[in-house]
């Protein structure tokens, strides 16, 4: 088994870059917008698979399987020893051996935060792997109850790129589950680690991972009577923080495009609350449409070609759709009630939204053309901010009642409602691209502080996402590339 080929994935960094084909190093020296452009060019470029995996082990014999739908009272014990440095050397982002340790740490941290895995303490390891191409001594890993083992190795290539290889082993049956090689600029080492965590998650759960993703959110600072709010973006684990606006103007409720490096959000530029598009490649923003009144609550359609939003007219808010290509606007609801917070089903055929047409805020589903409106929420309290899961099977929402805001999910027909959180004020869920985890923000009533949290569908695995300032209105990006 030791000679299993490693399926190679090349990460083409120069394939498609921001507009002008700017090379990596030049981008890094420019301002934040250009740096962003670099990052997103990298993620837009995609991974080119190279058929090297002729001898890859068939997964048919694999025994290990993690069920993401069950409450993981016993997360899977997994060993992620430091990735082996093939030599001594400097990478530009740290000494090679040190980088190998950091990559393993990022992989382990991703897996731990999912709640499905329990990375084992390195102090318990009896031996450390010596090479990615040498069969592990399984007895030593069985002895510390590891179910899975990740063996990784890193090296610098002559062209200055960092190479990271790993194999995932099923310890009880002594079988390789996957083996891959990534190469990229050393500065992208965290992304490579997140991709490896995604590979492990997918191989062991059968579900797509969500670690190589970003979160856009609103960073809050200053007096709570006049908060400064900035559009901010970071990796899903809280690293690589970047601010996209300067805080002079109020900004709210950003959302990622499903397939372009764009964000739609609400901004009060010139004291006019309007929906804007922000281009992450260029750092430019533009108002969406020329409306006489407030537009708000924007969301992209699943194909990225349209934005739905609310438009307030004479104090009444209805839902409109705009085609981003033609800029043609279509009205979808026409009711004296407040209609807002719309969200498409992943097939684009339906829209769930929030309306008080029945007297209090409830959730309604309609066809994408605005027809066939019917209420789906009938529990106690008011319901708001519905978001359709990318898998299509659930709608997450904020439920207001019993003096609390809580995050919950229900099926699109309104059945099977479950609350996932129970704090004073949790608001505005957004789905991870695999539809298994939600991110939302929490307000602490004692301090007035806001923070970002994730919770999985079991409701047991609730974790804070670190941010340098108070934070609200999070939205999860799609997976950065396939």
């Amino acid at each position: 088994m030791g000679n299993d080929a490693i399926k190679e994935r090349e990460k083409a960094m120069t394939g498609r870059s921001a507009g002008s084909g700017t090379p990596l190093k030049r981008c890094r020296m420019a301002g934040p917008a250009a740096f962003l452009a670099l990052c997103f060019a990298a993620m837009a470029s995609g991974l080119i698979g190279i058929a090297g995996g002729l001898f890859a082990v068939s997964p048919a014999h694999a025994q290990l399987k993690v069920d993401v739908t069950q409450g993981m009272l016993q997360p899977l014990p997994i060993a992620v020893p430091p990735f082996i440095a093939r030599r001594d050397g400097e990478t530009g982002v740290g000494e090679l051996g040190e980088l190998g340790r950091r990559i393993a740490d990022v992989v382990a941290a991703d897996l731990r935060r999912s709640g499905l895995f329990r990375p084992l303490d390195e102090k318990a390891f009896i031996t450390l792997p010596v090479s990615v191409d040498v069969r592990p001594r399984f007895a030593n890993w069985r002895a510390i109850a590891a179910q899975a083992l990740v063996v990784g190795e890193i090296d610098m290539r002559p062209d200055g790129r960092l190479m990271v290889e790993f194999r995932l082993w099923d310890v009880p049956v002594e079988q390789q589950l996957t083996g891959l090689r990534y190469t990229a600029q050393p500065a992208d080492w965290r992304r490579m680690a997140h991709k490896i965590a995604d590979d492990i998650y997918e191989r062991l759960t059968g579900e797509k991972g969500y670690f190589d993703t970003r979160i856009v959110y609103i960073a809050e600072t200053g007096s709570k009577l006049a908060r400064e709010k900035r559009l901010a973006i970071m990796d899903q684990d809280g690293f690589n923080q970047m601010y996209l606006t300067d805080g002079k103007d109020l900004v709210l409720t950003p959302r990622f495009s499903p397939n372009r490096q764009e964000i739609t959000y609400l901004a009060y530029y010139g004291d006019k609350p309007r929906v804007y598009l922000y281009d992450l490649d260029t750092g430019k923003h533009e108002v969406l449409g020329d409306f006489p009144n407030m537009t708000f609550a924007p969301r992209f359609s699943p194909d990225g070609k349209r934005v739905i939003m609310s438009l307030a007219e004479e104090g009444n808010s209805d839902i409109y759709e705009m085609d981003l290509q033609t800029r043609r606007v279509r009205r979808l609801t026409s009711h004296p009630a407040i209609d807002t917070s719309p969200s498409y089903s992943p097939d684009g055929r339906f829209i769930v939204f929030n309306s008080d047409r029945g007297g209090s805020q409830q959730l309604y589903v309609m066809r994408a053309d605005g027809s066939d409106v019917h209420r789906i929420s009938f529990g106690r309290g008011r319901y708001a901010t519905p978001v359709w899961s990318p898998r299509g099977d659930l709608i997450a929402f904020t439920r207001i009642g019993e003096k609390k805001f809580r995050i919950g999910v229900m099926k699109p027909d309104g059945s099977g409602e479950r609350l996932l959180t129970d704090a004073y004020q949790d608001e505005a869920p957004s789905w991870a691209p695999n539809g298994r985890v939600l991110i939302f923000f929490r307000l602490d009533p004692a301090t007035g502080s806001t923070s970002l949290w994730t919770v999985d569908l079991t409701g047991y695995n609730e974790r804070r996402v670190p941010t340098p300032t108070d934070a609200s209105d999070p939205a999860w990006s799609p997976l950065l590339d396939d």
């Binding site: 709210l252 409720t253 004291d271 407030m294 307030a312 104090g315 708001a384 004020q425 505005a428």
Partner: protein, 195 residues
């Protein structure tokens, strides 16, 4: 100069009121037809107006004479606040105007008629007990309820703009009924010329 007038304005009102009372006591003529004029310096008349005398008037005696100050004041937010108040409050999840709110808006409309050059923006706000987007819609609804009532009272729509801040700009921090009550509001702000 304007700043001084801001500060003196409430004092001017006080003295004007006392003076009117004194006049009424003396000759039975309630001075209700106060013509607008700049509030005058109060220093010189303090002694007389602050100490109304009930001594019988002696024919040929001293007759005090003063300019009445302008109860509407200058076209400033401070003057609006002193005259009518700049805000009205709403019930939970409602944009309905209460009798108190209507009374305030009627005074605001009176003040706006007196200052036809003034244009305002009506800010709609909500308390923290709604989600962000719903509260933006609710704040817009409240601002428009105020706008429509002012229009019904004869104020030109051209002079009235609305903006909603939802729960983004609370007037008071904290939680609890009183905090929420004070945050569920619509506030008139005077627009700068040309805005």
């Amino acid at each position: 100069m304007t700043a001084t007038r801001f500060r003196l304005f409430p004092i001017a009102i006080l003295f004007a009121t006392l003076l009117l009372a004194a006049c009424a006591g003396r000759n039975g003529q309630p001075g209700t037809e106060a013509a607008p004029s700049a509030p005058q310096e109060t220093g010189a008349s303090t002694g007389e107006s602050a100490a109304p005398t009930h001594a019988p008037a002696v024919p040929g005696g001293d007759v005090g004479r003063e300019q009445l100050s302008d109860p509407y004041g200058p076209p400033t937010e401070a003057a609006l606040i002193a005259f009518a108040g700049d805000r009205v409050y709403f019930a939970f999840d409602s944009a309905e105007l209460s009798p108190e709110a209507r009374a305030t808006l009627e005074k605001q409309a009176d003040w706006l008629r007196h200052h036809p050059e003034v244009r305002v923006v009506i800010e709609g706000h909500a308390d923290e007990r709604g989600t962000r987007e719903y509260n933006l819609a609710l704040g817009e609804r409240r601002a428009n309820a105020v706008k429509n009532y002012l229009i019904a009272l004869g104020i030109s729509p051209d002079r009235l703009k609305t903006i909603s801040y939802g729960k983004e700009r609370p007037a008071v921090l904290g939680t609890g009924e009183e905090v929420w009550r004070l945050n569920r509001r619509a506030v008139l702000r005077i627009r700068e010329a040309g805005v």
